[in-house]
């Protein structure tokens, strides 16, 4: 079983309410749910849609195929009707074209009006979908109680009748239920979580106690998540006046002994570039989230991209060590954030997490969260009398103390400095210090996680970050077609492990798949390995790749 719904309408019409309700019903009935959001940079009007895919097994990508299109307005019909091949279209529609899909006209708004208030139109739509699919409405009833009990009996009752009305009107249309077999479960314990919430949860689990940020799509969700947990876990969440302040605050917080993080998108990251160098020079651990969206400049604020890889690796003047980690899905994001905090503290370097709108907003289903990273407790040095913040050491890392914890003083400087931290103009000290900092790279390479590898002798799909699930599913398809496709997928995109050249020499026919124009991972790998990777798939239309689209593109490059 593998079924896809698309729910469309104008911003503000409630697409998200319908989609959230349905996703949760499916989830509670034991289906694996996968959702993606497509929206514009506006608050009302325009066109927005959410896609929901459900199956009996875990899902990791979205397909092109749409089995059921739910139209909250005519525009949704006009734009998407032809995408439905054999399935159904629900809504109050003017059918202005010949279609292979079955159109079931249901006027959600009118039905709701007849029940007393058109604000329940969305619940009518939910009922209609459940009715069409032949699913029980019991889990939706429970959800209605959960959401609305506090709003009073009337609201609950109205929602419940809207739900039933939607269901009945479709059932009475005479179409047999779409799902032949239905699950009886209505209290399944699987969870549905998107990348942003998972990142926030990871930060909480890492012991982050200071999160400063300036709002920016697609990372504002993390800011909101942290704010929502602020009182519960004692986390200061501060909306900064700009991104420069956001990062400088986080650096100050880290210097003082907190686990600190900031989050933004490309444009805001640009403003953090100077601060990144400050963190590096003062060797202050810091975690910076960059949720990518298409640029250059403001670009497409609500869409997705993998265009910032080379930028964040080289951001800030002169040279210093850093990690760049690009999580593959929400669960991995949660663990990656914890790992980011651990690595930032272990090496006293900035760690950049590269997310994107696709990862941020897409929801994945998990039976449980494999919580396979745990936060290291802080390893602060004691500030004794002779404490030296930048003591020269073999691996480049010096004992880090926090001010106020001992008689020793903690002196940090953005200028080149001596071992005590005081500004210096002694150029031999400069050389020593630059070498100390750069020396960290040696051990850092031992701590990067190797790319995830699945064997396959015909070709190898290579990617990084949020494309993981898409590559995974594409690989299955290829396998089913008898093509033995391997997978080689990076979470840790910088630095690379030291054996990267040997690995790629042994990798059968790599095809590098990325959400950017230039092929940035490909170029980095070329720089690092001296090999050439002419076979690439690149997209830059602001949308995540769909499985069919990728398979089609793969055919092109491999033929």
């Amino acid at each position: 079983m593998d079924y896809s719904l698309k729910i469309g309408g104008a911003a503000g019409q409630g697409v998200q309410t319908v989609a959230d309700s349905l996703s949760r019903v499916f989830l509670r009935q034991g289906y694996f749910v996968f959702t993606t959001k497509d929206y514009q940079s506006r608050v009302r009007g325009g066109h927005t849609f959410t896609q929901i895919r459900i199956a009996g097994n875990p899902l990791s990508a979205m397909r092109e195929r749409v089995d059921l299109l739910v139209c909250l307005n005519q525009e949704t019909f006009d734009r998407h009707a032809t995408e439905v091949q054999e399935g159904f279209i629900l809504g109050a529609l003017e059918k202005n074209q010949e279609l292979s899909a079955t159109v079931i006209p249901v006027d959600f708004k009118k039905i709701a009006q007849d029940l007393g208030n058109q604000i329940y139109a969305n619940m009518v739509a939910v009922g209609a979908v459940l009715g069409l699919l032949g699913l029980e409405i019991s889990s939706m009833e429970k959800l209605i109680h959960k959401y609305f009990d506090k709003k009073g009996k009337d609201v609950v009752e109205s929602n419940l009748s809207a739900l039933v009305a939607g269901k009945s009107v479709v059932e009475s249309s005479g179409h047999p239920p779409v799902f032949k077999e239905v699950r009886k479960d209505d209290d399944n314990k699987n969870i549905l979580i998107n990348g942003n919430d998972a990142i926030g949860l990871g930060a909480v689990l890492a012991g982050c106690s200071f999160y400063s940020a300036y709002p920016m799509t697609p990372s504002s969700g993390v800011l909101n998540f942290m704010a929502s947990r602020s009182r519960e876990y004692g986390i200061v969440v501060e909306q900064a006046e700009d991104e420069i302040a956001a990062l400088n605050m986080a650096i100050g917080a880290s210097y003082a002994g907190a686990r600190a993080m900031t989050g933004t998108s490309g444009g805001g990251f640009c403003l953090m570039v100077e601060g990144l160098g400050l963190a590096a020079m003062t060797e202050t651990p810091i975690v910076v989230l960059n949720g990518q969206r298409p640029g250059p400049s403001t670009g497409l604020p609500t869409r997705t991209s993998q265009g910032d890889l080379e930028f964040v690796i080289h951001a800030s003047h002169d040279e210093f060590p850093r990690f760049v980690l690009a999580p593959r899905e929400p669960e991995d994001a949660l663990n990656t954030v914890i790992r980011a905090f651990n690595l930032a503290e272990r090496f006293q370097v900035p760690v950049i997490i590269l997310s994107d709108q696709y990862l941020a907003d897409s929801e994945w289903t998990y039976a449980e969260i494999a919580f396979n990273e745990s936060a290291d407790p802080p390893a602060f040095a004691e500030a004794l009398d002779d404490y030296k913040r930048y003591r020269i050491s073999k691996n480049g890392v010096s004992p880090r103390a926090v001010p106020g914890t001992g008689p020793g003083l903690v002196i940090a400087d953005s200028d080149e400095h001596d071992q005590t931290g005081h500004i210096t103009e002694d150029l031999s000290v400069r050389v020593e210090m630059q070498e100390k900092r750069m020396r960290k790279f040696d051990d850092m390479r031992n701590w990067v996680r190797s790319p995830l590898k699945k064997e396959g002798e015909d070709l190898t799909l290579v990617g990084w970050g949020s494309t993981y699930g898409i590559l995974l599913e594409a690989r299955e398809h290829l396998m089913n077609q008898g093509i033995h496709a391997g997978l080689y997928h990076f979470t840790d995109v910088f630095p690379f492990p030291s054996d990267i050249r040997e690995t790629f020499e042994a990798l059968p026919n790599p095809v590098i798949v990325e959400g950017n124009y230039l092929g940035q991972l490909a170029r980095l790998l070329e720089r690092e390995t001296g090999l050439r990777f002419p076979r690439r798939v690149n997209t830059y239309n602001g949308r995540p790749m769909l499985v069919e689209e990728l398979l089609h593109r793969l055919e092109e490059v491999t033929k």
Binding site: G207, S209, G252, P377
Partner: protein, 284 residues
């Protein structure tokens, strides 16, 4: 006078610079307030003034040009037991860093902001600064500065800053007194310190200031915002020193304590497995 705040770092200022007075006053104020080096953090930006923390035996965060205030804000928030002072030049605080000053006045964290105001960019060799007078001629402004000078006191009072004062680095006793009040004050305190730059500012010299400075008289009521504003506009034949404005306002760090119920943000240790289990039902 030697204090526990002396250290042996070589000083890079010009002989006769007004910064020395500020440094001495600061050490004296710290001593008289019985502060301990380990519990003080001096945060600065970049510039001549911004080197000051290196010459004082305390914790130091010498960060980026213009960005001392957000760093200081965060340090105080994480560990309110520390005495946190942001200290830098007029270019750093009012030019590059203007936006942070503005918004931290609004937050009202319990930090002190000391501005070494020499009305010039010292370290970069004499360009006009936000407080340079109109007509000030430099290599970069050969026709004279055409921007109106920034008035930090009026600015701070206009946004209801909690504590607003002006001092003169040539009057160390007065500066010590004001510094002590500013540091003791619970909330955001701005102290603009007139500081002669003997190398690049040949207009606003010690003599120039000495002829003009005068302390606010007894009649001045620092709780009176309008009066404070009116006084802050004066600049010319007479230049007023002292506490212009003072207003008790809820302090950021205290609000954090109220809202979150925590004393500081240092690592507390926690049961992450339990947190995770508590979180999961929210995603159903």
């Amino acid at each position: 006078m030697s204090t526990i705040f002396d250290n042996k770092v070589e000083n890079a200022w010009c002989p006769g610079c007004g910064n020395f007075g500020i440094q001495n006053a600061m050490k004296r104020a710290f001593s008289e307030l019985n502060l301990e080096p380990r519990n003080v953090v001096l945060v600065s930006g970049i510039g001549q003034a911004a080197k000051a923390p290196h010459y004082v035996n305390t914790n130091v965060f010498n960060g980026l040009h213009g960005r001392a205030v957000p760093v200081a804000f965060a340090i105080k928030t994480v560990n309110p037991a520390l005495t946190v002072i942001a200290e830098s030049g007029d270019g750093c605080m009012y030019g590059e860093g203007g936006n942070h000053l503005l918004h931290n006045i609004r937050r009202n964290p319990d930090i002190t902001v000391m501005v070494h105001n020499n009305q010039v960019y010292g370290l970069t060799k004499g360009q006009s600064s936000p407080t340079s007078e109109e007509g000030f001629v430099t290599k970069t402004q050969p026709s004279g500065n055409i921007s109106r000078p920034f008035n930090p006191l009026s600015f701070a009072i206009s946004q209801d800053a909690s504590f607003v004062a002006r001092a003169f680095s040539g009057d160390i006793d007065g500066l010590v007194r004001l510094l002590k009040e500013a540091i003791r004050w619970k909330g955001f305190s701005l102290i603009d310190i007139l500081q002669p730059c003997v190398s690049f500012n040949k207009v606003n010299t010690y003599a120039w200031y000495r002829k003009r400075i005068e302390y606010l008289d007894e009649a001045h009521d620092p709780e009176n915002r309008l009066q404070a504003f009116e006084r802050s506009l004066e600049w010319g034949e007479r230049i007023l020193l002292g506490i212009f404005y003072r207003k008790k306002r809820p302090v950021y760090q205290e609000r954090v304590k109220e809202n979150l119920g925590v004393e500081d943000l240092l690592y507390r240790g926690f049961e992450s497995e339990n947190i995770l289990q508590g979180e999961l039902p929210r995603f159903r």
